[in-house]
C-alpha cells in the first residue's frame, strides 16, 4: 500500500504542477514507458474532476429548490431574484502599518460585466464557502475598510472625510474589493489578524437582507437591471455618513439605492484595539426591475 499511496501523491503533485523540474522530468519519462502509470494518471484526473462535479451538482440541486420556491412567490416590487450571499475567501490586511493608513484588502474582481463576455477566472484554490439566503434584492456589503486610528504625532487622517472618500473610490476602482467572511452571517464582529473588528450591520447579513427587502421599491416606471454600487462611511458612532454612488445605472434606481442606504439603521462601528473607529463599506445591489 505504501507504494500505491506514494504513487498517488506523486500523480496529485504532477496534476497540481508542484513537482520540481527534476521530479517532473523523471515522472514524464516514467509515463512514457509505463502504461499503468498513464492509466493511473487518467483515472486520477477524472476522479478529481468528479470531486468538483459533486460540489457543483450540490449547488445546482440547491438552486433548483430555490427556483421552485421563487416561481410561486409573489414578486415584490417587480424584483425577482434569489440571492446567494457569497462569503468568501480572504482577508489580507497589511496590519502593523500603523502610520495612519487605511487597512488594505484583497480583491476578488467585482466589475466583471465586461462587454466582451470573457470573464476572469478566479484561482481554483479560492473555493468560496456559501451562506444561502433567499431574498429579493441581492446585495452583500463587500468592501469594508477600517480607518486606522491616528497616533499622536502621526499624520492626521481620521475624520478627514475627503481623503477617505478619495481612497475609497480609488480602491474600488482598482478592484480592491473584499468579500466578507462567513462570520458576517451570524453578525459576529469580524475577526482581524490584528485586533478589532470591521463595521457590521446589526444582526448580520440576514437582517440586512430583511431590511432591504422591506425597503426597496421600484421607482415609478423605471426599468433597471444590473449591478450598482453604493459606498458610505460608518463613523465611530455607527452612523451612516456620506453615501454616494460609485458605479451607477444612471437612472432612478441610483436614487432608490441611496435613499435606502440613507434610511438604514445605525451600524456597529469598526473597532481597533483602542475602541471604535470609522470604517468604509461598499455595497453592491443587483437590480432586476422590469
Amino acid at each position: 500500500m505504501r507504494d500505491g499511496l506514494h504513487l498517488m501523491e506523486l500523480v496529485d503533485r504532477y496534476l497540481d504542477g508542484t513537482l520540481d523540474p527534476g521530479e517532473r522530468q523523471a515522472f514524464e519519462e516514467r509515463l512514457r514507458t509505463h502504461a499503468e502509470l498513464r492509466e493511473l494518471l487518467d483515472d486520477q484526473r477524472a476522479l478529481r474532476e468528479g470531486v468538483e462535479r459533486l460540489a457543483v451538482r450540490a449547488l445546482v440541486v440547491k438552486a433548483h429548490s430555490g427556483w421552485n420556491w421563487g416561481k410561486w412567490k409573489p414578486f415584490i416590487g417587480g424584483a425577482a431574484i434569489t440571492a446567494a450571499v457569497v462569503t468568501g475567501t480572504v482577508w489580507s490586511m497589511h496590519a502593523g502599518e500603523r502610520s495612519g493608513k487605511t487597512v488594505e484588502v484583497v480583491p476578488p474582481p467585482i466589475d466583471t460585466l465586461a462587454a466582451d463576455r470573457t470573464i476572469p477566472v478566479p484561482p481554483a484554490e479560492a473555493a468560496p464557502a456559501y451562506v444561502i439566503t433567499d431574498t429579493i434584492i441581492d446585495t452583500v456589503y463587500q468592501v469594508i475598510r477600517r480607518i486606522e486610528r491616528v497616533h499622536p504625532g502621526g499624520p492626521v487622517h481620521e475624520g478627514d472625510s475627503a481623503s477617505q472618500r478619495t481612497t475609497s473610490a480609488a480602491a474600488t476602482k482598482a478592484g480592491s474589493i473584499m468579500q466578507g467572511t462567513e462570520r458576517e452571517a451570524t453578525g459576529d464582529p469580524r475577526p482581524l489578524r490584528s485586533s478589532g473588528s470591521m463595521p457590521a450591520y446589526p444582526g448580520g447579513f440576514q437582517e440586512l437582507h430583511r431590511y432591504l427587502q422591506r425597503s426597496i421599491q421600484q421607482p415609478d416606471g423605471a426599468a433597471c437591471s444590473g449591478t450598482l454600487i453604493v459606498a458610505f462611511t460608518v463613523d465611530e458612532k455607527g452612523h451612516v455618513q456620506d453615501p454616494h454612488v460609485v458605479k451607477g445605472l444612471g437612472n432612478a434606481c441610483d436614487q432608490e439605492a441611496l435613499r435606502v442606504v440613507r434610511a438604514m439603521p445605525d451600524w456597529i462601528p469598526a473597532q481597533d484595539k483602542d475602541g471604535p473607529v470609522p470604517g468604509e463599506v461598499s455595497m453592491p445591489f443587483v437590480f432586476e426591475f422590469r
Binding site: G50, A83, R117, I119, P120, V121, A126, Y130, I132, D138
Partner: protein
C-alpha cells in the same frame, strides 16, 4: 437574467444566484424531453447535468461564450437526452434535427469528456459521505491534512492520508467498472 450577469455572478463565485437565474431556461428543455418519450424527472436530470457542464466550462481559463447561454444549454440537453434514449434503446421518431449552425463546434468532444467525468462523479457518490467530504476538503477547499483529520475525527495527519488513499483507490475501482460497462454497451465508442 441577462447572460452577462450570469457570467459575472459565476465569476464572482455567486453560483447559487446564477443557477437560480439559469433555471429560467428549464421549461424549454422540459418541453423537449417530454415531447420525446421522457418524463419531467428525466428533464430535470438532463438539465442538471447541463448546468454542471456549463458551470465547469465557464470556470475554465480562457473561456469565451460563443453562443447565447440559452442556445448552449439547449444544445447540451438535446445531445444528452438523445444519448440517454439511445441507451434505453428507444427508436427516435420526430427527433429535432441538430441545428448545426448554433451548435458549439466542440460540443461532441466536450460531452464525451464530461461523460467520463460524470462516471467518476457517480463512482465517488457511491462511496458514502465521509469519503466525499474528505476528498472535497482535500481537493477543493485545500484544507491541510491535519485540519481534515480533526474535522472528520481521524487520529492524525497519517490517518487522514491513508483514508484519502483508500477512498480514492476504491473510487478508482468503481470508476473502472462503470467505464468498462459503458464501453461494453456502446461498442461504437470502443
Amino acid at each position: 437574467m441577462q447572460d452577462d450577469m450570469i457570467l459575472a455572478l459565476i465569476g464572482q463565485g455567486r453560483d447559487h444566484t446564477a443557477f437560480t437565474g439559469l433555471y429560467a431556461h428549464f421549461p424549454k428543455v422540459e418541453r423537449l424531453v417530454r415531447a420525446n418519450s421522457g418524463t419531467k424527472a428525466d428533464a430535470k436530470d438532463v438539465f442538471q447535468d447541463a448546468l454542471v457542464i456549463f458551470h465547469r466550462r465557464v470556470r475554465q481559463p480562457g473561456f469565451v461564450l460563443t453562443s447565447s447561454i440559452s442556445t448552449f444549454l439547449y444544445a447540451v440537453c438535446r445531445n444528452l437526452w438523445r444519448e440517454e434514449l439511445r441507451k434505453r434503446n428507444k427508436v427516435l421518431t420526430g427527433w429535432p434535427a441538430p441545428e448545426a449552425a448554433d451548435e458549439p463546434a466542440d460540443l461532441t468532444a466536450l460531452l464525451a469528456r464530461e461523460g467520463e467525468f460524470k462516471q467518476a462523479e457517480q463512482a465517488l457518490r457511491s462511496l458514502g459521505g465521509k469519503c466525499q467530504d474528505l476528498l472535497k476538503r482535500f481537493y477543493l477547499l485545500k484544507e491541510p491534512l491535519m485540519q481534515i483529520a480533526s474535522a472528520l475525527g481521524l487520529a492524525g495527519e497519517g490517518a487522514a492520508k491513508t483514508r484519502k488513499y483508500k477512498c480514492l483507490e476504491e473510487a478508482r475501482k468503481r470508476y473502472r467498472a462503470l467505464a468498462d460497462a459503458g464501453l461494453a454497451s456502446h461498442p461504437q465508442h470502443a
